[in-house]
Every structure is written in structure tokens, then in C-alpha cells.
Amino acid sequence: MIADAFLQALALVSSFDPAVISIVWLSLKVSGAAALIGALIALPLAAWVVQTRSLLREPMIVLLNASLGLPPVIVGLVVYLLLSRTGPMGALGWLFTPAGMIFAQVILVTPIIAALARQVLEDAQQEYQDLFASLALSRWQSLQTLLFETRFSLLVLLLAGFGRAIAEVGAVMMVGGNIAGHTRVMTTAIALETSKGELALALALGLILVFIVVVINIAAHYARQVLRRRYA
């Protein structure tokens, strides 16, 4: 049975089945957008935490670190309540839409990128603070330089955020509703098809998901190397 399902899955993948392609494409769009928006929020936030002397700095670090363990279903529940018709953001009409799924994933991805970026930037700051001070760089110049110096690591963090988003199932299931052709992404489709006993489609999507995650990691590895070689 497993072998049959596996062969059918390979057939679905190799035939570029339109239903599969549509699910994969939506997954890439939702998770890509979430990772990018998350990075746009997380990087300035991490930079602020590194540079600030505000009393809010320590609580923010604790909050970011604690947010790393946010359970996706809880995020899904909260976002669901926010976006539901009677919720404070109900007027946006984002519930059961890709926009709502992106919103939920941004909440999940942002703390990961921010917490890791803070660590990367702080380590770099430790390394360069004497140089920056001896060159009399302003705080803004120091920050710009820090972001540039850590660009390879930050790129990897962005990909890590994307990896987290595309592999997530709980929040997008609750907020997106897993509506076929509209909000069904790879993870939610895998969960649904498995529960229905439709192992071929679940396996096909699983293969693609694993393939994407592996490609992301290979891309991150070689992106680092190529960018580094440019300066070697």
C-alpha cells in the first residue's frame, strides 16, 4: 500500500498535477511574503534592541526569546479571534484568506528572525565596537555597517524564517480554513489528505515540501559561499 501510494505520488509530482502545483504555489507565496514582511519588521527591531540604551531593552530581549517558543495553534487562535467578524480586525475581511494566513505566519516568523538577528548583530557589535568608536562613527553609521557586515548571516536567518513558515500547519489551518483552491497550502493539504486516507497526494506534497526545505538549505549554503567568494 505504501509502495503504491509512493508510486502514485511520484506520478503526481512528475506530471505537474495542476492541483498540486496550485497548492505548492500558494504555499510559496504565503510563506515567502510572511518571511519577507517578518524580516522587514524583525531586522529594524533587532537593530534597535542592539543599539538602544532604553529601559525597554531587557524586557524586549526576554519577550523576543520567549516568543521563539510560541505555539502555532495559539497564534492561530489569537489571530482567528482578531480577524473574526466580531474581532477588532474583523473589518479587514482577512479571515479564511491568504492575507490572514500571512498575518499569522508573520507573527510566528518575526520573533525567530528578530531574536536570532539580535544575537548576530550583538556579536558583531562586540567585535567592532572599538573600531567604530576609534573611527568616531555615529550610531546610525555603526548600525548600517553592522547590518552590512552580518549580511550573510542575516540572509540565512531570512531563509530560516521562510523554512519555519512553510513547514507550519496549525496557525494556517485555523486562520486559512484549508479551503481548496483558496487557502489550502502544502501542510494543511497533507494533514487533510492523510486523514482521508488519500496517501498519494499527501506523499506527493510531502516530497515537494521536503525538496523545498532541502533546496532552501542548499541555497543558503551556496549563497553564503558565493557572496563570500566575491570578496575573497
Binding site: 567585535e127 567592532y128 572599538d130 573600531l131 568608536a133 576609534s134 573611527l135 568616531a136 563570500r228 570578496y231
Partner: protein, 238 residues
Amino acid sequence: MRSAALVENKSALVELVGVRYRVRDAKILRGVSLQVHPGERVALLGANGAGKTTLLRLINGLISSSEGSLVSPPVTQQAMLFQKPPLLRRNVLDNVAFALKRRGINPIEAEQVSLQTLNRCGLTGLSQRYARALSGGEQQKLALARAWVTRPTLLLADEATASLAPAAVHEVERLLLEICEQGSTLIFATHNRGQAKRLATRIVFMSEGRVIEDRATEDFFASPVSQEAIDYINVERV
């Protein structure tokens, strides 16, 4: 009342008066007074913990003295070399040009001047290499080029050759002398007495956060006055 101050006056490039620095209960500097005049090459000598690095960092503005309401910002063009040079994750040329670009010099001019300086430091052939892939000696020469390109009035060096092989040490010393010949004043901390003899016109010997002796290099090594200095010099002879 200012009990500690780093000020500029017309005759001295740097003047420190009664500078104290403490970290919690530890007194790192205990009332250091010092004048450094243009063109001097001053070696800070002393055992570990004497306060040499702290004094350099204070002069460079990396830290502020604990006492005295004012450590005036240095108006001189300063550059500092560290034992382990903090190099940017860029190529050699970009590391040198960085200092100029941050001062608003246009990128093309900055790169031209940087290439000239790299040439003087014998690093022209490495200008496109990743800076962190260089050897220890090359990295320190690169740090020196980055300092030199800013035409520093005052060059500070904190045990800049401590982890280098002898050949690299002499190369860095040659470059330091060349920079000084072009008008820079040098203050450097070292444990290498030979280096102090080769480079310094004046020795400031420190112990436990105080300046114990402040004399011309030949005089200091020929006839140290304090017991601390005698012991320090004799350790090397042993």
C-alpha cells in the same frame, strides 16, 4: 573642579592631568598625568595590569575617566591599532577605503588613496583578497594601512605586534616609523623591550595604574631609577 582631564594645548598634542579610572572597586589608573608632544614616539611599558591599555583607550576616547567632569573629545585625528585587528568582512581595499568613505570622501577618490596606502604597506597584490583570509602579519599591516590612510596626527597602538612572527614585527615597526616620519605622533603599549628601544623616543613606565618613570629611551634603559623599573628590565635579562 576638574580632577581629571584630557585636554589639548598649543605645545602638547595630548595632556592628561590626574586621570583616574576605576572599574567598580578596582583602581586601574591612579592619577596619571602625562604630556605628549607632536613628533614624539612614546612607549608605555609595564607589567600586565599596569594600566597601559586603559590609558590608550582613554586617550582614544573609547572609555571615559572615572573622575573629573570632563574628558574633552580629542580634536586631533586619531587612529588606533589593536592586538587583534578588527577587520570588516570585506576585501582588503574596502577595509582601507571604509575609513575614508565614512568621512564623506567620494568612493573613487577613497579607493585611489587607499590603493596608494596599500602599496606603501606592500599589500597592493592583496587588495581584492578577503581581509580575514590574510595571515596575522598581513592583517596587522592592513589595520595599519587603514589607520595610515586617515593621516592620523596621533597614532595609538596597543600591543599591535604581540602575536606576530619576528619578520612581521619588523615590517610593522618599519611602517610605524614611516608613518611617524610623515608627521604622526605615536603612543604604543608593548611588552617587547627591544621594540621599545627601536621605536620609542621616550619611555613611560607604569606600575599599578601610576606613571613611575617618564624618561628618554636611552636614559631609561641605561639607568632605571625605580625598583619596579629595575626589576622589569632585569626580568628580560634573566
